[in-house]
Structure formats: C-alpha cells, structure tokens
C-alpha cells in the first residue's frame, strides 16, 4: 500500500525512522519498521536510517525539455480598474526571482479599460505586460480569465507563474494549473530559487501553520504558486521604468461564458481585513454584540479594520466576514490588537504572522500572550476606550 520500501533483512528496528516521520506513517512491529498508508513518500526517513534499509521507488523521470520555459510571470489582479496591492507585492518578489534567474518579468493584466494598470505594472517592475482588454473581462470570472492565461502560457512558456492568494487568485490559479497539468503550491510564505537546480523552492504552512513544508515542481512548467497578502514587501514604483506592453487579442464572446456577474455588495472598510494595516479584533471577552463598540471606535481612530475570533462569531455577536483564524480569514497586518481573545491555536493560525501583536486580556495565562509583542492584563472595557483616547490625542499632535 505505502510507497516506502523497507529492506526487512537490513532493518535493525532502531526506530530512528519512526521518530522523524512527519506523517506518523512508520511504527515498529515485532522489532521491525513497518509503514502504513499515511506515507506520502516525502523521503524524510530515508537519510535517517543508519543501515540504509529505507528507499523510495526509483522513478524514470521522463523529463520533457524544460529549457524552453523561461521568464517569471505575475497575474495582476484588478477590481474596477484598481490593481490589488497583493499583485504589486508579487511583482516585487517576481522581480527578485527574475533577476536571480537572469530572466524577464512579465505581468498579465486582464480587464476592460485597464491600460493604466498595465503602465503601473511596468513601474512596479515588469519588463513586459500582456494586456488583455475586453468587455468580457471587465469583472473577474474564472472561465474567460483562465482561458486567456492558459493560452498565453502555452504560447510563451514561462518557467514561474505567481498569483496572489486572494479569493480570485486561488480560484484562478487552481483552474489554470489544472488545465495546464502543472504543479501549484498554495499560500506560500517563502519563494526562492535553488542556485544549483534553478528550481523554485516554495515554502508553505500546513495544518493551520503547525508545520511548514518546502515544495518543488521539478518536472512540470510553469512552476505555479500563490502567496498570501503582505508576505512580501510592497515595492516602490518607479514611473521612469521602461517596459513593453503587448496587447492580447481576445476572441471571446459573452455567449460563450456560462457565468454572469449579477451584482456586487461592497463591504464597509472595517471588514476589508485582507488589506488592513491595522486590525482590532475581539473574542469571547467582549461579552456580546455591544461589546464590539469600543473596539470599533479604536479601529476607526487607527484607520483599521474590525476582526473577531470564532468564539465571538459563533455566539452571533458579529458576522462571519469578520472572522480571523483557521476557519475565517488569514491576515497579517502591521498591527494586530487582540482584545479578549484567548488565542486558541486556530485563531493564531490566522494572525500569528502580524508584525506587532498587542494582547489585552483579563487572564494573564491566556496563550495569546505567548505570541504577543506587547501584553496588557486587565479589563478590556477600561483599557480599550482609554487607549482610543490616547491615540486620538497623540495622533492629532503629529
């Protein structure tokens, strides 16, 4: 069943492999290592065996000629003609990867009346921009966007293709990678080039951030990855940069596209958690719907968004769109102020990479303090309004 090969004659039953298996796939039975179906052939155990009893099936890799694939591409997400900040973050990292590989950076801009976004893409580091400008592309829809990108990849063969891990980015990346039969690594927190193999080393969290994995796409191109908000630095645009804008012929008619956008309901600023630089979040400790009022005021003074833990959402105190954590949104603001949030692992999975974390909690033993930058023990209903007042005063003086 499992993929790992164990030489039973060589195995001494030392258990070294059992210890290192990340998937609990190995155990000792009657003094010999045995493997179960959890095995993913990750190979972690193979070098650990002191007698060399472990191996993975040798595979004849039929490597097609990958040298034809060159260049780093980034999909530039736009909404109503405004580029998503996550896309410029991808451009910044794409530029670094392209320079390391000695290759060009290409931006893919799809939309309607988005010539300005294409020009911005050059300022943000693109050497070339594919610009698909057509009424059918006005608002993001999976089918036409995926079709155009798949056609472009087949024609121009990039080696790396990056997309922001937004709702649309993940929707699109999953479609494009499926149609191209290539590897896609979701929600990367690190992307680097292996200097020896020139492969893209993709680091990503799994199990709600409990473990990290490094993933390669060795034999398929392009190597596709999505990256979460605010993982990479926002680059500074250079309006003097020169680049080439290549118009893409769009041969789509509205009749061919099954999905129609009927309407859009915009959330207020306080819910736009993904882009927020400051988030004030409340948990069980806020005690009820009205308990969010002081938090909302603090968020307003700081120009931030309002978040919540699962406990507060499940209690019905605040809508789900505010939920942060494993079953809600993943955020990484510059400042995260956790009020009355104990800091369960599922909540921390959604916010632990925030730059500065402030924890305000009655319970000095609350696990949120383990990951906080600053902690304050006390009653949030006294602290939060007083803190709001301090900021109101001090920010006015600046």
């Amino acid at each position: 069943m499992a993929l790992l090969i164990i030489d039973q004659d060589a195995c001494t039953g030392c258990g070294a492999c059992v210890e290192v298996c990340p998937f609990a796939a190995l155990s000792l039975v009657e003094g010999l290592a045995v493997v179960n179906d959890n095995c993913t052939a990750c190979g972690a155990c193979v070098p650990e065996c002191p007698v060399g009893a472990l191996s993975l099936p040798e595979k004849e890799e039929k490597v097609s000629d990958l040298s034809a694939y060159q260049g780093v591409w980034v999909w530039v997400e736009q909404f109503h003609g405004r580029a998503a900040s996550i896309s410029w973050e991808m451009m910044g990292q794409g530029r670094i990867l392209a320079d390391q590989l000695g290759t060009a950076l290409t931006a893919c801009v799809l939309g309607y009346g988005v010539g300005k976004v294409a020009e911005e893409a050059i300022a943000y580091g693109a050497d070339r921009v594919f610009l698909a400008d057509d009424p059918t592309l006005s608002i993001y829809r999976t089918e036409p966007y995926a079709r155009i990108l798949v056609d472009l990849v087949r024609e121009y063969k990039p080696e790396i293709f990056l997309l922001g891990a937004s709702a649309r980015g993940r929707d699109l990346a999953g479609s494009v990678a499926t149609l191209l039969y290539t590897g896609l690594t979701a929600d990367c927190t690190g992307l680097e080039i292996d200097p020896q193999t020139r492969l893209l080393r993709q680091t990503r969290p799994a199990f709600g951030g409990n473990i990290m994995a490094i993933i390669l796409t060795p034999n398929h191109r392009p190597q596709m990855a999505t990256v979460r908000h605010r993982v990479f630095e926002m680059p500074k645009p250079d309006p003097a940069r020169r680049g080439q804008i290549v118009p893409v012929r769009v041969q789509l008619s509205e009749e061919e596209i099954a999905t129609k956008v009927i309407d859009f309901i915009r959330e207020s600023e306080e819910v736009n958690l993904a882009d927020a630089r400051v988030i004030v979040a409340g948990g069980r400790g806020v005690g009820g719907p009205e308990g969010f009022k002081p938090l909302r005021e603090l968020a307003q003074v700081l120009g931030g968004a309002l978040g919540a833990s699962r406990a507060a959402v499940d209690a019905g105190w605040i809508p789900y769109v505010h939920q942060i954590g494993q079953t809600g949104r993943t955020v990484r603001p510059d400042l995260y102020i956790a009020c009355g949030i104990s800091g369960a692992i599922q909540h921390r999975a959604g916010m632990s990479t925030s730059r500065v974390i402030v924890a305000i909690n009655k319970d000095p033993e609350a696990p949120i303090f383990d990951i906080a930058t600053y902690g304050l023990v006390g009653d949030l209903f006294e602290i939060v309004p007083a803190l709001t007042e301090q900021f109101r005063k001090k920010l006015a003086q600046r």
Partner: protein, 266 residues
C-alpha cells in the same frame, strides 16, 4: 436533483502537535474527522434534497479507514457513499487528487451539483474544488456563502460568494461545482436512524480499474506535479512578550500607545 459532495478525512486539528525534539507532526494518536468545511457542503446538499427531492452522494479519496467519515456523512442523511482507495492513489497532490475524483464523478454519471468545502484544514490549499471543475469542464463557484436561487428545470444557479472587497452575486448553469464557506449553514448532527443506516451500508471501494478512461500516469505520487521535499516546524516568534505594567489604566495605555507609535505601524 443529484448532488455529489466531496469530503476529506483529516486529523482532528486541536490535537495536532509538533514533537519539539524531532520537529515532526505527532498525529498517530489523533482521531480523524470529516474536514469541518466539508460538513457545510454536506449540509447544503441535504437542504437541497429536502427542498427539491433527489439524492446526495458522498465521495472521498483516502486510506481504507476514511470509510468512517463516509459513514458519518451517511448518518447525517447522505444516500450513497463511495470510497476511492488504492495503493496507486497514494501520495497524490491536489492535481492528482482532483483528477481521480473527477474520473470517479464521471463514472457516477449525471449530477446537478458538486459541493466541496472551501479548503481542507490540513492542507489548506482550496485547490481540489477548482481542479475537479476544470477536469470536468463545468463552471465553478468558489467561496459561496449563500445559494440565492436554484432552478433545476432552467438549469441555473445563483449564489453569493465572498471576495476581499465584499460579496459577489454570480449566476451560472448547471451542473456546477461549488466550494462553500462556513457561514452558509449550520450542519446537522447524525440521527439515530441515520447511524443505523450507515452502519449497515455497504460502501463500494473503487480503485483505478473501476474508473473508465483513467490514465495511471496521472495517479498518486507519480501523477503529482508537486513534490514535498521537507517538512519542518515553523520558526518561533522572536523575543518574548513585553508586559505593560502600571499603577493605573491611564498610565498603562499611555505607555502602550507610545510603544505602538514607536513601532511606526500606524
């Protein structure tokens, strides 16, 4: 109405721990559960069945013991269950998983909807849903938190989906694949009757030989474009928490606000 729900058996996360000495995941003792997001997909399918009549088929790919999660889905009210389990499926990444599930769904035959959770809590990729839709060449609607209307005669569905800036209202044709978020409903508990039915049900186990048109080179580890080369524990946050202590709340927030302003994050 025929809805197919794709579920995944995942470890119950709260118990997942890292062994600090070996940097590995300790999950041998952890009981498996239905991926929580998939329970919303099951519930939504059951509600459609109650409103419109029809059947709900639940399907998973995984080790033989994933049968337990299928039985739980049946005890909630699903009518049919199929387990995809075979050594050749082992080690599949999201591409190979979507390929295999799509082949199985094609074998099941006609359906109106495929429902998936928005992502699994172990892998967190959210890629298998779009993968299945594109393998089957049907429209996908991801991050759905409300089905506004569904018309099985006119073959159309209208949903609200969550995007960063708000909620998008989309209409598409059936059959379609939906991935759903938590807010869409409150999943029900299994009923005693359901548990009895589930216990007695024979769940077919399909391997590659049961899937028409399947190409073995696309299955399991061999068919997976991505390779995991290393797993490790995430770096700890540097430094320790600085606790603010003062005589009064006013004094404490004065210090705290100065510290935050000095971080230049506002």
């Amino acid at each position: 109405m025929h809805a197919i729900v794709c579920i995944k058996s995942v470890p119950g996360t709260t118990e997942v721990r890292i062994n600090p000495e070996t940097n590995t995941l300790m999950r041998s003792e952890v009981e498996s559960i239905i991926n929580p997001f998939d329970t919303y997909a099951i519930e939504e399918a059951l509600r459609l069945k109650e409103a419109h009549g029809g059947t709900v088929t639940v399907i998973t790919m995984g080790p033989p013991q994933a049968e337990k999660e299928l039985r739980e889905a049946v005890s909630m009210g699903c009518d049919e269950a199929i387990l995809l389990s075979d050594p050749q499926f082992a080690g599949a990444d999201t591409w190979a998983t979507a390929y295999t599930l799509a082949k199985a769904i094609a074998k099941i035959g006609t359906y109106d909807l495929i429902l998936c959770g928005k992502q699994a809590i172990d892998g967190d990729t959210g890629q298998v849903g779009p993968g299945i839709a594109n393998q089957l060449h049907i429209p996908q609607l991801t991050y759905v938190f409300k089905i506004r209307a569904i018309d099985f005669n006119a073959r159309s569905i209208e949903v609200e989906r969550l995007v960063e800036e708000g909620r998008e209202i989309l209409r598409t044709r059936l059959p379609a694949l939906l991935t759903v978020v938590k807010d869409i409903n409150q999943p029900r508990y299994p009923t005693l009757r359901g548990i009895r039915i589930a216990r007695k049900m024979t769940i077919p186990i399909w391997g590659p030989a049961d899937l028409p048109g399947v190409e073995r080179r696309y299955l399991g580890l061999d068919g997976s474009p991505t390779k995991v080369i290393k797993v490790f524990s995430p770096p700890k946050r540097e430094g320790k928490v600085e606790m603010i202590r003062a005589e009064t709340v006013e004094a404490a927030v004065d210090i705290l606000s100065d510290k935050i302003l000095a971080e230049k994050v506002i």
